[in-house]
């Protein structure tokens, strides 16, 4: 038996697989052009945990750097697919009435596969899905481990800068949003029955190599 949440997640996965199946097979495989992209920027994250012991408080990542490496492959005209490694080291703070306190750090590592639609004038949009893992020392909410790989969904809007040096470097600005559900074995032990949705937003500057002109 699947509960509603599991069924919903399975539905999203099935929808993604169907979309990928429709698009990811290039009409002419020989026209595919591979490029490598590196992006760096800053990421905001919503709270990982909202809890209340006497008074309410949040466990929230700090504003943090984000580093992404992508391998992109041109598909049919106007479309490309990519695999992206996303690494984001971050501090962790407990925010409560009367202050905000350092409680450690972690690194969020995500791998996503995505489809990108290229519009005119250097604009493109990407939708992707993948998995995210929290790497942290075994203390606090991670004292019983991180809970493994968490499904992640992401959307992004990208704009290629219309300047000559920027074109040479395939320079792009990207606004990226992703969402996943955060829960760890220690939180389950504490009594949490489901994960909290964590929304992350990043502003990135990307440069690329290879692939010729943008498809």
């Amino acid at each position: 038996m699947l509960d509603g949440r599991t069924a919903g997640r399975a539905g999203v996965t099935a929808l993604l697989v169907a979309c990928l199946g429709l698009i990811a097979i290039p009409s002419d495989p020989l026209s595919a052009q591979v490029s490598v992209h590196v992006a760096a920027g800053v990421r905001y994250s919503s709270a990982l945990v909202h809890d209340s012991v006497v008074t309410p408080f949040d466990l929230k990542p700090t504003l943090a750097p984000a580093l992404l490496v992508s391998v992109r492959d041109g598909l049919r005209p106007g479309w490309s697919a990519d695999v992206t490694l996303d690494v984001a080291p971050s501090g962790l703070r407990r925010q409560e009435t009367g202050g905000s306190f350092d409680v450690g750090s972690f690194t969020a590592i995500a791998v996503t596969v995505g489809l990108r639609r290229h519009f005119g004038a250097g604009a493109s949009a990407r939708v992707g899905v993948g998995g995210l893992r929290y790497a942290a020392s075994q203390s606090g909410v991670f004292r019983e481990g991180s809970g493994g790989i968490i499904p992640l969904g992401t959307v992004a809007a990208t704009y290629a800068l219309p300047l000559s040096f920027a074109r040479r470097r395939q320079m792009e600005i990207e606004a990226r949003y992703d969402v996943h559900q955060f829960i760890t074995p220690a939180l389950r032990t504490e009594g949490f029955r489901s994960g909290r949705p964590v929304h992350r937003m990043a502003i990135l500057l990307r440069i690329g190599w290879g692939g010729g002109t943008t498809p």
Partner: protein, 220 residues
């Protein structure tokens, strides 16, 4: 077809992750976090180390395996907290410590603990020095561990097992768990027989570290 598909996927991702989980109920907190000074004004004394004073600095008597016992007890208590409410460190300079842990008299042998319990083979005492106002500590917290000789004789291994329990128990007092639990499954029971803090110990210290203290720590 394809853009619609992508848009539907993006929408599903966002809508599928919008529910906040319920905050768990935390039943079973023992009322031993505070100690009540029976005075005319019925003042409640509640002490904990504030976040601004972390890490709490423990000094361990260099004789025997006291440093091991203190480091172990600090780690055990730190493990109880989900949200980094407590951090402790063992320091080598007693003048820079918040909590001093000493042997009261003889030093027990450092041997592997015996699993057969002899609960009353050792003891401990934790002492707080309040300033004249009664609203702040005047100096470091003192803990002494002692080998008890009055009861039936314990093996060195039983004595070591007892010291491990009692060191956690006494450090619990130094963190602000000033009273004893009435339940023998708790590490804060008067004569502890549990090896580690129970869920009730954990819930209680968790609640203590989210409560407003009425007693301030000693000056640094």
């Amino acid at each position: 077809m394809t853009p619609r598909c992508a848009a539907a996927l993006a929408g599903a991702l966002v809508l599928g992750a919008c529910n906040d989980p319920a905050i768990p109920s935390r039943l079973g907190v023992n009322p031993f976090a505070d100690t009540v000074i029976i005075a005319a004004d019925t003042t409640v004394t509640l002490f904990r180390w504030p976040a601004t004073r972390l890490p709490v600095r423990f000094w361990a008597d260099p004789r025997g395996n006291m440093r091991f016992l203190v480091e172990r007890a600090v780690a055990v208590w730190q493990y109880q907290f989900l949200y980094g409410e407590l951090r402790g460190v063992v320091v080598s300079d007693s003048t820079a410590a918040d909590v001093l842990v000493r042997w009261r008299d003889s030093v027990p042998p450092d041997v592997p603990p015996d699993t057969i319990p002899a609960p009353n083979s050792c003891g401990g005492i934790t002492t707080f020095d309040y300033d004249s106002s009664g609203l702040a500590l005047a100096g470091p917290v003192h803990i002494s561990l002692t080998v008890l000789t009055g009861g039936s004789p314990a093996s060195p291994g039983q004595l070591q097992a007892c010291m491990r329990r009692v060191s956690i128990h006494e450090l619990g007092h130094s963190l602000g768990l000033l009273r004893h639990s009435l339940f023998d499954g708790d590490i804060m029971y008067g004569s502890p027989i549990a090896d580690y803090p129970s869920v009730y110990d954990r819930r209680t210290v968790e609640m203590l570290y989210h409560s407003q203290p009425t007693v301030q720590p000693p000056p640094q």
